[in-house]
């Protein structure tokens, strides 16, 4: 191990592991990376322990790729520790960037989640209603488990983040771009998202005829014309409110954009922006009173939050379920 080599860390918090695979998706380029850097911490791929991490000095890691949202007390603790040990902390992937799919659990409270998972699911056999505890004493010993926090938060809501590489998972090209910028010392200003600055539509090759739509369809319900804009065909595509940089990879293969790159820089709430956008192309309400028609149209939109906030619920204005007369953060 050379002294001049940069030290790289990677960590998974509340995530599926896909982002770690995406890092390996660099394929042989990872060897070039290893000419320049050594891996100093990466639980998914190497055998470093938390104690190794604690043993590093402050800012000893040159760059850490952090994937996953902050769901448990362990996630939060390691995020803080990695912030302390890393010169550059990179939110890697949709979950670290926006809360991601785990963030959709913000539509349920912590107790509701436990009740569903440990008591109500029909195949669960738990007659005593036992729910995992954070701490338990047995035979004079205390066992501790990380606790579940009330909500999933993105990394930047917990610690200071230097850069974001978005995507679910980030395409290897973007990771390469980031590494190239890092190696050449050409990184943009702190806080930048390493991706495009426009929207997915800008990169999409489909033909947009600005048609207004009178019904929503789900992709499996219709024959999709491969050349026409998906929104024109009544399929909800998050392209207009999603940051570019993926070469429109989903629409190119007949799947609507789900919004994994998060909103472009000036948009705060991706889902709300999509409502604005959709409202411009809906055909109903031209007379201002087509209430019944509206209800019919919306009835084919069974899960609006899951549709408009697939990846960004944690970072939306509400951040999750609101309760009338209840406690909201």
């Amino acid at each position: 191990m050379s002294k001049n080599k940069k030290k790289i860390g990677a960590y998974w918090a509340s995530s599926c592991g896909g982002c770690d695979v995406a890092l390996l998706g660099l394929h042989e380029r990872i060897l070039e990376l290893l000419d320049f850097a050594e891996i100093a911490f990466w639980p998914a791929a190497t055998d470093f322990k938390y104690d190794d991490l604690k043993g590093y000095g402050n800012n000893e890691l040159d760059v850490t790729f952090f994937n996953g949202g902050i769901r448990t007390t362990e996630n939060a603790e390691i995020a803080e520790l990695l912030r302390e040990k890393s010169k550059l902390l990179v939110a890697y992937g949709s979950c670290a960037h926006q809360g991601g799919i785990p963030g959709l659990a913000n539509m349920s409270g912590k107790n509701e989640l436990f009740d569903t998972v440990y008591k109500e699911i029909p195949t669960t056999n738990n007659p005593d209603g036992i729910i995992p505890q954070e701490s338990i004493k047995k035979d004079g010993l205390t066992l501790n488990l990380p606790g579940l926090q009330e909500r999933v938060r993105s990394l930047d809501r917990v610690v200071d983040v230097d850069y974001t590489v978005p995507g679910c998972p980030p395409p290897p090209e973007l990771t390469e771009d980031f590494l190239e910028l890092l190696i050449n010392g050409e990184l943009p200003e702190k806080g930048s998202v390493i991706a495009g600055s426009k929207t997915v539509c800008e990169e999409c090759s489909r033909e947009w005829n600005k048609e207004s739509i009178d019904a929503f369809h789900r992709p499996q319900e219709v024959d999709i014309d491969p050349d026409k804009c998906l929104l024109d065909q009544g399929i909800i595509c998050m392209g207009p409110v999603t940051r570019s940089g993926c070469d429109s990879s989903c629409p190119e293969v007949n799947m609507p954009c789900k919004g994994c790159f998060g909103p472009p820089s000036k948009v705060e709430d991706q889902g709300m922006e999509m409502l604005n956008s959709l409202a411009s192309v809906l055909q109903v309400g031209e007379e201002g009173q087509a209430l019944e028609q509206e209800k019919e149209l919306l009835s084919n939109l069974p899960d609006p939050i899951g549709t408009f906030y697939t990846f960004s619920l944690s970072n939306s204005i509400f951040g999750g379920k609101v309760s009338e007369g209840g406690e909201n953060d």
């Binding site: 709430d269 889902g271 604005n276 007379e287 919306l298 609006p304 939050i305 209840g326």
Partner: protein, 138 residues
Amino acid sequence: MEFEPKLIGFLCKWCSSAGADLAGVSRKSYPPNLVPITVNCSGRIDVSQIVKAFKDGADGVLVSGCHPGDCHYTSGNYKTWRRVALLKHVLDDFGLDPDRVRLEWISATEGEKFAQTVEDFTAEIKELGPGPFRDVKK
């Protein structure tokens, strides 16, 4: 103390805001709960502004524009109409009562209607109680 709703009103410049002025010069009396914000057109309202109003503690939001067909910019009010319809659908899912958002068409001659709308809306929100973020400290 009785709950006094905090209401935000986004009024378009050409019709509803003028309607509110007319209510004033006609000496109509109505509850003081609504804070009017004049915008160029109700179509200028982005649904995230309504959501933000709630997040910042509003108990209800009124969006008011020109009657259908009367928009100064031809079609702004239609856009708002569709936006608010979609928003209510999503608000319901978020757990916020969609009745906390109200869309009205009030023209420059309808001072009476403006006063009546504010009165009705205030009473309705009083019934519903404080909004979900009313007393949350920021």
